[in-house]
Every structure is written in structure tokens, then in C-alpha cells.
Amino acid sequence: MKYLPLLVAALLRRKARTLLTMLSVTAAFALFGMLDAVRVAFEAPESLIGIDRLIVASRFSIIQPLPLGYLSRIQSVAGVKAITYANWFGGVYQDPKNFFPNFAVDADTYLAMYPELVLPPAERKAFLDTRTGAIVGQALAEQFGWKVGDKIPLQATIFPRKDGSNAWTFDLVGIYGVSDPALRGLERQMLFRWDYFDEGRDPRYRPGTVGWYAVRIDDPTHASRVAGAIDRQFANSADETKTQSERDFQRSFAKQVGDIGLIVTGIMGAVFFTLLLMTGNAMSQSIRERIPELAVLKTIGFSDLAVVGLVLAESGALLVLGGVAGMALAWSTLPAVRDLSAGQLDVTMQPQSWELGLCLIFLIALAVGLPPALKAKRISIVDALAGH
């Protein structure tokens, strides 16, 4: 604590330099915060929710549906505790720009399979009782100003109705929230009933089929065994299946979009390399100017270690103040980014981004502070005071 005034004095010695250095650190970490949030969002949240779920889809391609008849055959596989199914709908609300996932689900079993979707009991009952019913997430309802009781028209892009028209209308009977803020992405979905969808679709679009099954297993450690058992059931049939954990299923999608992680790492590599040079340069300048002062400190009895500590504390303070401010800036502007992009770019900074950022702050502070600190340690009092 007693060194604090010294530290403050060192930072305030050249206010403009300290401020500018800190601002460049802030800019770098603001960028880091935003980009890392995007990276984390693409790599699917690491949570325990859904660890016991498998997804069964067609082995051949994402566009091939599976027969509804597989339901009981999957259910009979040892280790399967519960099962539900869904079908991608791909409907458009008013304008293709308003994209959000919407799909048909088997209402009762789907809500049981996904307890992270929290629906008030009365609305849940309404969903089970209304054939034309649909439920949406809180975030989506807010974006479009929907209330329970509204009629929501969707324009079909894949499945026309029996009469050939593309206009499907659903009754909004419930608005769900999520149990964990990290899963907020799930609030941008619309779910409606598969039986209504199946009855209404053009008979040429394969009624009686579903897009995928979701399965709960009794023990997550048996995932690969159960997945293998399911796939063997349907081997060499007209509709072979591919069963994988829900997380692998999501990751395979993210991978198809592209290597977001690599792009983010590339950009941040360039940014942090520059930052290292910039702050390193500012720090070494500041120490060079203060050599006589450091010599005085040593003369009056400061140990070498104390001097090293002071210099490191200075670089640490620069990085921590600037870096935390930058990440806080990113954290507070991401909601604005979401609103600007009409909800399409909806990411938030997760604890893991903060942890990674703090690690980086620590490492960069060390890399930037260590060379001038060692230089300060080596100062010979006599030479420095004599002005050599």
C-alpha cells in the first residue's frame, strides 16, 4: 500500500502518454471482447445442459427426412429414456431479413425433453390443447412486439399447404424464457405443433416424416454405445440414420459456416502484436526518462526487487485499467449491436471470455513490463546519478 503514491506519481508523470497508451489498450481489449463473444457463440456453449441428449438424423444428408415409424423402434433401444421429434419449417415472417429458426415439434414430449425452455403451466396447457398453437421465446416476442393471443403469419419457403398457398397462420399461446442466461440464443425460436403442420402440408411433401429425433439416454457415458445401437437398427434400410450427441450436432453446423475461431485468432494476433510493441515502447521510454529518479530510490534504500516490482506494477496498472475498461466497453455495447442488427448478431460476453481476457492482460503486462524492469534493476547508482 505504501508504494501506491509512487505508482500514481509514475503514471501521472506524463499524463498524455499514460492516457494514450491506456486508450490503445482499451481499444484492443474492446475488440477482443466483441470478437471472443462471437467465437464462443459459434463454438456452442460448454454447459452440462443437454449432455444426455442425442440427435438422430438422416445419415445421407440434412435434407432427407426420417419416417415417423422410427419412433417406437428408437424407443425400444436399450438406454433410451425419452424421445421426441421435430421438423425444420424455415418460414419467413414478413421479410427474409427477419430470420429466426422456426420448426414443428411434438408439443408434449419436446417440452419434456428441453426443460431449459421455461413455459408457465397455463401456457403449456394451452399449447397442448391448441392444434394451431405456437410458442416463441421472450427475446423474439420482444423484438416483434408479440403478445399471447396474437395470430402469427409465416410465409413457407419449403412446405406449401394442401391448397398450394404458402401462407401458414399460428396462434401464439405461450412465451417461454430460458433457465440459464447463457442459453439466451434459444429465445429466438418459434415452435409449433407437428400434427398441425403434418396435416396441413401439401401431400407431395412427404407427410408422416420428421426432420430429426432427439433422444434422452439414461447415462451420458453410454452415449456412443447407444448411438451405435440406434444406427445399427436402421443400417441398410432406405433411411439410414446418424446419431450423435447434441453438442457434436451443433458443432458440425458451426464448422460448416467456417473457421470463425481461426479468423478471430488471426485478427487478435495482429492486434495484440501491435499492442505489445506500442505499450512496450511507451514503457521503455518512460523508464529511460526516469533513470535518475530510480537511482535516487535505490540510494535511499529501495531494494532491487522493490524497483522491479514498481515498474511491473506500472505496466500492470496500465494494462488492467485499459484492458478491463475495454472489455467492459465491449460488454456494454454488445446489446446495442444486437439491436442494430435486428437481433441477428446476438452475442454476449461469457465468463470464459472474461477469464481469457484477464489472462491476456496479465501476460501482456508481464511481457511489456519485464524488460524495462530488469533494466531498472541493473541501474548502477553512481553512473545514473552522474548522468552517464
Binding site: 498524455a16 502518454r17 494514450l20 497508451t21 486508450l23 490503445s24 481499444a27 484492443a28 474492446a30 475488440l31 466483441m34 470478437l35 445419415r59 445421407f60 444428408s61 440434412i62 435434407i63 432427407q64 424455415g90 419467413v92 427474409p96 410465409q155 413457407a156 419457403t157 419449403i158 406449401p160 398450394g164 404458402n166 407431395r204 411433401y205 441398410n236 432406405a238 439410414e240 458440425s252 453446423f253 464448422k255 460448416q256 459456416v257 467456417g258 473457421d259 488471426g266 485478427i267 495482429a270 492486434v271 502484436f273 501491435t274 499492442l275 510493441l277 506500442m278 515502447n281 511507451a282 521503455s284 521510454q285 442488427s341 441477428q344 448478431l345
Partner: protein, 446 residues
């Protein structure tokens, strides 16, 4: 005296007034530079003439030259500015080149001479569907060019998605498989077989696009690909220079049979001339037996690239603005330090009778020259590393679109524009500081 003494002028004003004046000058300069850089050409030329012809101009050059030749003494600090600006420009050029490449790949797949017919409401081929009767009606519509046997040049196509492992990750990715009609070679004239031969109609044979061959394991002539549990032989490679290079092509009837389909996704037809599109669209959309949308392939493929390019451009701009801010702070820091280090030299010049203006201009010239060098470095590195770099992403048919980064000269120029803008801001404030240093103090301080 031809020039007013800025020191006396500036000194008389209050500090906040002066600060806001400077900020205004910088904003106006930046605005002009980013909105209409060409408009600045004339003033810049005049400035160059003034530099060479007038005494003051030669003073500017002399001071700037002194700054530039002493750069090796301040190598560490100078390289910080150089690398910082190169980084901004490099990232800018790379991200924009990605957007540019994706857009160009899809854009060149479309033109005004061909039209695509989809089921009404479908936003991509994959979600469209047309039955046999509809396909026959569409091919006979007015305005479609016919070959020398009087067959309409139209291809009814089946578009499906298959899983193939990507070479880079080894994991399955969606590949677009397109079953095409017999007239496709007259329809898409840019398609050429570059290896092997064409597939034979009725057989389970495929040809692969050049991009698909590079991205997916097993997409090479001679190998066998499993489509819906059937073996298909790859017999050739084609090039087209557009989005079709990401696809696998086979005979429409065979591909449809493999996926148990008895219909098609789209009909693409060559028009007699671009103007007939309206007549064709009217004829098809008013036919009570059909429910279809008709558009030129240019309009269709233009829409397909819109969303992703907008995202990349938007994100790219945000990233670059933040990076540029960081670089401006770095440049300011370094230039302030350089000015402070040379305060004795600058004060001496002032004592010798140099006015403030040449000092300001010289410091700015030096910083901007440095920024220009950084910009050229960044643009050069981005060009060398990324031009033609091939990647793929998920397109609107829910399958991979292979494209190359396209580092265009326009992008390189824009990158340099950013660099000079950063140099302008980073040099302006320290230059004003240099000119307003009290001469006596600076001389005495040493």
C-alpha cells in the same frame, strides 16, 4: 510577411476554443479524405508546387528531411507506428477481400441472358419444388432460346445435399449435388471439362467442380462417392469460374432417382434476349396451372450473396474502426515523444526565424510519409498472403460455397486511404504542439 504568425494568433485564443477548432479541422480533413479523396488531388498538387517553389516550402522540406533521416535513431518508436498501421490495413484488406470474393463468386454465376424458375415463395433452389408437368410447361414458354434441333435450351434440375468430409477438418460438410438436364452445356457456356470427361446420362456418374475437388475428400476423378447409399463414380472435373464450381453434377433423372424424387427443384433457361424476361415471367405467373417465381439468374444469385457479404462488410468495418483508433493513439504517442525529443532542434529553428507553419507541415509530412509506408506494407502483406486464398462457407442452399479471397486494386487503395487518414490524425496534434512550444523555455530546458 506573407504568413500570419500562428503563434500569436493561436496564443490569443482561449484553450477550449482552440481545441475545438483543431478537432473541427481534423474532422473536415478526414471527411474530405474518406468521402472524396480525388477532390483533394488539386490542393495536393498545388501544395507540392508550393513546397518546391517557395522559400517556406523549401523550409518545410528541409525540416521534414531532417526528421526522416533521423528515423534510424528512433527506430523502435518509428517501427511501432509502421507496424501498427500495417496491421490495420492488413486486417481491413483481408476482411474486405473475403466479402469481395464471396460476392464475385455468386455474382458471376448469374447473368441477364438466363432465367431461373422456382416454386412461388421458395427463397433458394433447395426449398423449391416443381413437378414434371410444370417443368414441361415451363420449357415450352415463350422467349426461351432453342438449339438447332428446335429443343428449348432449358435445364430442369434436381438440387440435393450430400455429406462429404472436408479436407481441412475431416468432418462431414454439406455438398451441393446438382442433377442437370441434357441442354445444360448450351445453357451454361462457361462450364468446361478440365479433366476427364462429361458424365453419361442414365449412369451413376458425376463430374465435380474445381472448388469442390479442392475442398472435399473423395471428389477426384476415379474415386467413388456414396449418394444415399449408392455408389457414384467421379469421371471428370469442370471449371466455371463461379459458384457452380462448388457443386457435383450428374444426370438429373439419375440423381432424382437416387434420392427417390419424382420432381425437380428449378428450371434454368436461356433467353432469346434479355428483354424477354418480362414476357416470360408474365406468361408463367399468369398460367393457372403453375405457381412459380421467375427471375434472371443475375437477380437470383445477387440475392444469395447479399446477407453474408453485408455481415462480413459490417463486422469488418467495426473491427477496422476500433483498430484504427488504437493505431491513432499509438501514432499520437510516438509523434508526441518524437516532437518532445526534438524540442531543442525545433526551438533553434524558430529562433533562427523559421515560422510556425513550416514546422507544423514538416511534422505532419513526416508522420504521413511513415503512415503511407505502413499502409503499403500492410496492403502488400495482405495481397501476398490472401489473394486467391480459398475457403468455403455455408451458402443459402444449405451447402458449402467455395470461394477465393479477392484482393482488388480498389481495396488496396482503400487500405492506403485508411493508413494516410490515421497518419493525418496522429501527426496533426503533435505538429501543432511542436509549433506552439515556447521558444525560450525549450532552449533553456536543455
Amino acid at each position: 510577411m506573407p504568413w500570419p504568425d500562428t503563434e500569436a494568433l493561436v496564443g490569443g485564443l482561449r484553450k477550449p476554443l482552440r481545441a475545438s477548432g483543431l478537432a473541427l479541422a481534423v474532422s473536415v480533413g478526414l471527411w474530405a479524405w474518406f468521402t472524396a479523396p480525388l477532390m483533394l488531388l488539386a490542393p495536393v498538387a498545388l501544395f507540392a508546387v508550393w513546397l518546391i517553389a517557395s522559400t517556406q516550402g523549401r523550409q518545410v522540406l528541409a525540416i521534414a528531411w531532417m526528421g526522416i533521416v533521423t528515423i534510424p535513431q528512433r527506430l523502435g518508436a518509428t517501427s511501432v507506428v509502421l507496424v501498427g498501421i500495417a496491421g490495420v490495413v492488413g486486417v481491413f484488406v483481408a476482411l474486405q477481400a473475403m466479402a469481395e470474393g464471396f460476392e464475385a463468386t455468386l455474382r458471376s454465376a448469374g447473368d441477364d441472358d438466363t432465367a431461373i424458375v422456382l416454386r412461388a415463395g421458395a427463397d433458394a433452389e433447395l426449398s423449391s419444388g416443381l413437378d414434371r408437368a410444370a417443368v414441361t410447361l415451363i420449357a415450352q414458354a415463350p422467349g426461351i432460346l432453342r438449339d438447332d434441333r428446335d429443343v428449348p435450351i432449358a435445364s430442369a434440375e434436381v438440387v440435393v445435399v450430400a455429406n462429404l468430409p472436408k479436407r481441412s477438418t475431416g468432418t462431414d460438410a454439406n455438398v451441393e449435388v446438382r442433377g442437370v438436364g441434357r441442354e445444360v452445356w448450351l445453357l451454361r457456356r462457361g462450364v468446361h471439362i478440365i479433366q476427364g470427361r462429361r458424365f453419361k446420362p442414365g449412369l451413376r456418374e458425376l463430374i465435380v467442380g474445381r472448388g469442390a475437388q479442392a475442398q472435399f475428400r473423395g471428389a477426384t476423378p476415379g474415386s467413388v462417392i456414396r449418394l444415399n447409399n449408392q455408389d457414384w463414380r467421379v469421371v471428370g472435373v469442370f471449371s466455371s469460374g463461379d459458384a457452380h464450381e462448388s457443386e457435383l453434377w450428374g444426370d438429373a433423372e439419375s440423381v432424382g432417382a437416387a434420392y427417390r424424387r419424382n420432381g425437380f427443384q428449378s428450371v434454368t433457361a436461356r433467353l432469346v434476349q434479355p428483354q424477354v424476361i418480362e414476357r416470360l415471367a408474365a406468361a408463367l405467373t399468369h398460367d393457372p396451372r403453375l405457381r412459380v417465381d421467375v427471375q434472371t439468374t443475375r437477380a437470383y444469385y445477387g440475392k444469395q450473396s447479399q446477407r453474408l457479404t453485408q455481415v462480413i462488410r459490417g463486422v469488418g468495418t467495426v473491427v477496422v474502426v476500433i483498430m484504427a483508433l488504437g493505431a491513432v493513439f499509438g501514432a499520437l504517442n510516438t509523434t508526441y515523444a518524437a516532437v518532445a525529443g526534438r524540442s531543442l532542434e525545433i526551438a533553434t529553428l524558430r529562433a533562427l526565424g523559421f515560422t510556425a507553419v513550416p514546422v507544423v507541415l514538416a511534422v505532419m509530412l513526416e508522420t504521413m510519409a511513415l503512415a503511407l509506408a505502413g499502409g503499403l506494407l500492410g496492403a502488400g502483406v495482405a495481397w501476398a498472403a490472401f489473394n486467391g486464398y480459398q475457403v468455403s462457407t455455408l451458402g443459402s442452399n444449405f451447402s458449402q460455397v467455395v470461394f477465393q479471397f479477392d484482393v482488388t486494386p480498389a481495396l488496396l487503395l482503400q487500405g492506403v486511404q485508411w493508413a494516410v487518414g490515421i497518419g493525418f490524425v496522429g501527426g496533426f496534434f503533435p505538429a501543432v504542439r511542436a509549433a506552439s512550444l515556447p521558444v525560450i523555455h525549450a532552449l533553456r530546458a536543455q
